[in-house]
């Protein structure tokens, strides 16, 4: 593929990520932080996000036999990370999880947790595609 096409594709993936609500303006903030010394800033931070998220989801899963306080704490952290990179939809699900947690709704927690994971994996997949295409375009 030609570079221009790749760029175009990357742009369209990116746009669709925004359009579908996977990402919000915070991601643009990250993009704004990219500079010469940090050409892949978004990707780096997103990778950091993956690592953190994997840890936190693991934590959450261990706390899932309904230790609500712990769940709340972990989810708060996770939510912080999400909002840090602008993962809008995951964040939204995190908020729902919080509500269930606050309501001591065990079923709701499990359900929303599944949603969180689902949104997270979807986002991860999409972002990976995006970064891959973007990298190719840059190359």
């Amino acid at each position: 593929m030609k570079k221009a096409e790749l760029q175009q594709e990357a742009a369209s993936i990116r746009r669709s990520l925004f359009d579908q609500g996977y990402l919000d303006e915070q991601f643009e903030e990250l993009e704004g932080l990219r500079d010469d010394s940090n050409p892949n800033f978004e990707e780096e931070i997103v990778n950091l996000f993956y690592n953190d998220s994997a840890r936190m989801i693991n934590n959450l899963e261990r706390a899932l036999p309904m230790q609500f306080d712990k769940l709340d704490d972990y989810m708060h952290q996770f939510k912080g990370s999400c909002s840090g990179i602008g993962a809008k939809r995951v964040k939204l699900e995190c908020s729902r999880f919080h509500e269930c947690c606050a309501a001591r709704d065990a079923e709701g927690c499990i359900r929303t947790f599944q949603q969180v994971k689902h949104e997270y994996t979807t986002l991860k997949r999409q972002l990976q595609t995006y970064f891959q295409v973007a990298k190719q375009a840059d190359a």
Partner: protein, 989 residues
């Protein structure tokens, strides 16, 4: 033989069956009321039933009378008689027939006898002629021919008479005679037997039961059936005569003896409610002659409360006159009770349902209201942010070169913007109080200073010729504990309100201690309700700030709890107080204004209410001010009242309880002996001063109309005149600040001032108010500075002015003229930028406390782009340790963190700043690191480190919490480049 015959006859007659034993009218037709089985078919049935006979009490005589008189009784009797007659006739007929038979037989016998005799004579005549043997009974056969079937039954001795003797001999005749004799004898014998039989049969007949017996048996059976049926029926059956005296009563549950009832009336028998009614009812039936039913509730001693369904039927004589009543009553108490209960339940259900609908309605309305309120609050909040942007930008715009017309437009724009901001702040305040989200601080403060500062502020913005005065009674403690911000807000609000509606005379504040809150109120008042808040908020604050800056912080303690303890003017500051008591301080805000019409007082404290539309037009305002005051006072446990006289003035009074720390300092400020209030010197901070007065200045204050009309709405143009010693007017400026921001504001302003004066050495700053002459020069400088500044820095500076408004405003306002303000501002920013560039050591030291890697990385990168490097720690404990090692110019503190959260860490840091030691931290388990002490000592913490909260839930209460814990501001997550820049601009640059 005869016997048999008789029996047969009897049987034949039996074929005529008896008619029904029972009178016809109670016969077996359909619809009959009385069904009874034929006797005999099952006698046993009733035998098993025990029938108690006592209950029936009958006046038999009366019954006889009745049967004689009444139709019904007579028909019954008639039938009875008919039946009897019939039976008798039958019996008679039978007997007669029997008799007939017998007499016939006798005739025959006699006839034969005669014949025989004749024969003998005949034979005597022709004796010897005819020897033919004759059977004497041959002819007799004919008699019986009528009953052929009996023939065979008849035993006839038809053997021929055998005579041994020779015919016609003497012997023969003798023998013959003997023989006949024998026959005769036999015949007589037979006759006798028949007679016996007859007698026997008659006897039999007699022995048969008499009809009376039979009838009485039947009656008895009927009676038994009735008993059987009635024995458990809860009914009373009775008959009463014309005078309603009982003649018969059947009561299954008798309570009274016969003699107690028979011959008496209801009223004579019972007493209690219902008795009279039943009597009357019976009488009514008696008179009308028509049967009727009624339910009557009796409440008698005899059987308690019972309800009976009574059926009363008149009884007529044959002549058609009523001679009494039949009466049947059934106990329906249970049914009635059930019915009533049902009715009650139904009623309750209906009521319940009505209530439910009502409640639902209310809930609905409440929900709607809540939603509307929430909506309003949210909207206000949402509006505030962009609006403050607009206003700030307009302010920046006003610093640029504009022609006169543009400037005027801009000023209108600014003043309108500020008004809207104020209004929104009011709404937010109000909804915060109402939703209970408003939290009160417990701060140590000096009431006298509060009063003074409020008046000072008011005086500064005064545009009328009014005297402002304050009296503080001697017994008012020097320091009390309460939410000074809110109290100041209330006072400022009331005072500005008073000023607004007072055209001449004075406005004042009285403080006195009262024993007990006696919430005096007065209704004769009248006055302005409009809460004009434009001048309200917390203006005193910045003023104090300023004072503290210039006066070595002597009056700092007024501001916030933390502060009050850390004032470092070398004076004997208060020791940690050991005892606390509560004192009630009454505060009156009086004026000599237009007063409030009485009718308006009830609505005075309602939201959006003003005395009249006229007032609203004339005086402006939203009508929120007093509502907020009232809510705040009530929130603090007091009550706001008003007394007013139209055209004479009004007094608003509130009494609030405050805690008093007894151990608080009673030493005056050592460095300030000067309590001359005439001078209005801010420095004159005599803690015990009890009277303040701000006289109107009539100088040509109006000359201050140099273009900045904007200020006129918000602050006095003539502040220099009103407060001649006011070195810089930023107190006024801050009037328009949202109260929320006050805290951070104030702090910053102090630092700003300090920084400006010490670092920049800018001459303009130190001497404000006189800069008119600098005008051209400063403007040039502005341009220069812009050029010089890196674009970024410039931008930040601008933003500082704009969005953050407070610090820049404070600086700006140091002059009465906008341009000059701007000059200052620009000088500041320029000098800052140069200093950053020129003196690397001055690069701000920034600490980020954040546990989330992603956010750390984001923040770090952003800071890098802004040209700052930052230290990062991961939790509150590490943050405290970091602060122990060195001072920071800015701390960005995540609120939610493991180990120790941001709020706690901030508290510890603040405590250190106040006390100079880390005791609190040690108590919290954080051992000071070894390297701490020297650094600490080398750089005594004269400065309050700005701590910015980073919070994920940007709700107002969490902001409140941040402030309450000593944070200066907060940014909501996710942190953006923009927010960070603004923050840096506000607190670092």
């Amino acid at each position: 033989m005869v016997c048999e015959m008789e029996h047969d006859l009897m049987e034949d007659m039996d074929i005529e069956v008896l008619p029904s034993m029972w009178p016809e009218d109670i016969g077996t037709d359909a619809g009959k009321q009385f069904n009874i089985e034929k006797p005999g078919s099952d006698q046993d049935m009733l035998e098993e039933v025990t029938i108690v006979e006592e209950p029936t009490i009958v006046d038999f005589k009366r019954l006889m009378e009745l049967t004689n008189y009444t139709d019904r009784g007579s028909t019954q009797l008639t039938y009875f008689m008919k039946y009897l007659e019939y039976k008798q006739a039958n019996a008679v007929r039978l007997l007669r027939e029997e008799l007939d038979n017998l007499s016939k037989q006798r005739q025959e016998v006699e006839l034969r006898k005669l014949k025989i005799l004749e024969e003998h004579r005949f034979e005597d005549i022709r004796y010897g002629d005819d020897k033919r043997p004759v059977s004497i009974l041959d002819e007799v056969y004919d008699i019986w021919q009528d009953r052929p079937r009996r023939k065979n039954d008849v035993v006839v001795q038809n053997k021929g008479i055998e005579i041994d003797a020779e015919y016609d001999t003497v012997v023969y005749w003798k023998q013959r005679a003997l023989h006949l004799e024998k026959l005769l004898e036999a015949s007589i014998q037979r006759e006798q037997t028949l007679i016996e039989k007859l007698e026997e049969s008659i006897k039999n007949l007699e022995r048969q039961s008499t009809p009376v017996e039979e009838l009485s048996q039947i009656l008895k059976r009927a009676d038994n059936f009735l008993h059987f049926i009635l024995q458990n029926a809860p009914i009373v059956i009775g008959h009463q005569d014309k005078e309603l005296r009982y003649r018969f009563i059947y009561n299954h549950f008798p309570r009274l003896q016969e003699e107690d009832i028979i011959g008496r009336t209801d009223v004579e028998i019972f007493t209690g409610s219902g008795v009279r009614e039943s009597q009357d009812f019976k009488r009514e039936v008696l008179e009308k002659g028509l049967p009727a039913k009624r339910e009557i509730t009796f409440e008698t001693e005899l059987f308690g409360s019972k309800t009976f369904l009574i059926y009363v039927e008149p009884v007529f004589s044959k002549a058609g006159e009523t001679i009494g009543i039949n009466y049947m009553g059934m106990d329906v108490t249970d049914q009635v009770r059930k019915r009533e209960r049902m009715a009650r339940i139904r009623e309750e259900i209906a009521v319940q349902k009505a209530k439910e609908t009502e409640l639902n309605k209310t809930i609905h309305i409440t929900e709607e209201t809540m939603r509307a309120k929430q909506m309003l609050a949210t909207m206000s909040h949402e509006i505030r942010s962009p609006l403050s942007g607009v206003v700030s930008m307009a302010e920046i715009l006003s610093t640029t070169k504009l022609d006169k017309e543009q400037r005027q437009l801009l000023e209108v724009m600014l003043s309108s913007g500020d008004l809207v901001l104020q209004l929104i702040n009011d709404i937010l305040d109000l909804s915060k109080v109402e939703s209970g989200a408003m939290k009160l601080e417990a701060t140590k403060f000096r009431p006298r200073e509060v009063v003074k500062h409020v008046l000072q502020t008011a005086a500064a913005s005064l545009q009328k010729i009014l005297t402002l005065e304050g009296h503080v009674a001697d017994d008012v403690p020097i320091e009390v504990i309460g939410d000074v911000l809110r109290i100041r807000q209330i006072l400022t609000n009331l005072v500005s309100n008073a000023i607004k509606f007072t055209h001449e005379g004075k406005v004042g504040i009285n403080l006195s201690v009262v024993a007990r809150p006696n919430f005096g109120q007065s209704e004769d008042g009248q006055q302005k309700i409009s809460g004009d808040k434009s001048n309200v908020s917390v203006s005193g604050l910045s003023e104090e700030k300023y004072f503290s800056a210039s006066q070595n912080g002597s009056s700092d303690e007024c501001r916030s709890p933390v502060k009050s303890e850390r004032s470092r003017n070398g004076a004997t500051e208060e020791q940690p107080h050991s005892t606390e008591t509560t004192v009630c301080i009454r505060c009156d805000v009086y004026d000599t204004g237009i007063g409030i019409p009485e009718k308006a007082i009830p609505t005075l404290f309602k939201r959006y209410m003003q005395v009249s539309a006229d007032h609203a037009r004339k005086y402006g305002g939203t009508g929120l001010g007093l509502a907020i005051c009232k809510q705040l006072v009530e929130l603090m446990g007091g009550r706001l009242t008003v007394s007013s006289k139209e055209h004479c003035g009004s007094t608003f009074t509130f009494i609030l309880p405050y805690k008093v720390s007894i151990a608080c300092d009673n030493s005056d400020d050592p460095d300030d002996k000067l309590s001359d209030m005439e001078k209005d010197d801010a420095a004159s901070d005599d803690a015990t001063q009890g009277f303040f007065q701000f006289q109107p200045r009539t100088l040509g204050s109006l000359f201050s109309s140099n273009g900045s009309t904007r200020a006129s709405t918000l602050r006095p143009q003539k502040l220099g005149l009103a407060l001649p010693h006011n070195l810089n007017g930023f107190s006024q400026n801050s009037c328009s600040l949202p109260s929320n921001d006050v805290t951070s504001n104030g702090t910053t302003s102090v630092e700003d001032v300090i920084r400006v004066t010490t670092v920049t050495d800018s001459p303009e700053m130190s001497e404000s108010g006189s800069s008119t002459t600098h005008k051209p020069g400063t403007e040039n400088e502005t341009v220069v500075s812009r050029d010089k500044c890196a674009q970024l820095q410039n931008c930040i500076a601008c933003r500082e002015i704009g969005v953050e408004t407070k610090p820049s405003k404070i600086q700006q306002s140091s002059e009465t003229q906008e341009k000059d303000n701007r000059t200052c501002q620009c000088v500041t920013s320029r000098s800052d930028s140069t200093s950053t560039v020129a003196k690397p050591p001055l690069e701000p030291k920034i600490l980020l406390v954040e546990d989330n890697n992603v956010n750390v990385m984001v923040a770090r990168s952003m800071m890098k782009q802004l040209g700052h490097s930052i230290n990062v720690v991961n939790n509150g404990v590490e943050a405290v340790r970091a602060v122990q090692r060195r001072n920071y110019d800015l701390i960005l503190m995540d609120v939610c963190m493991p180990v120790m959260n941001g709020l706690e860490a901030t508290k510890l840091i603040r405590s250190y700043e106040e006390t100079g030691n880390w005791d609190a931290a040690t108590k919290a388990g954080i051992e000071p690191s070894s390297s701490t002490s020297d650094l600490q000592n080398s750089e005594p913490s004269t400065k309050r480190m700005p701590i910015i909260a980073m919070t994920a839930n940007a709700l107002s209460e969490s902001a409140e919490e941040c402030y309450a814990n000593g944070m200066d501001s907060f940014v909501s997550k996710p942190v953006t480049f923009q927010k960070l820049k603004e923050c840096l601009a506000q607190f670092v640059l």
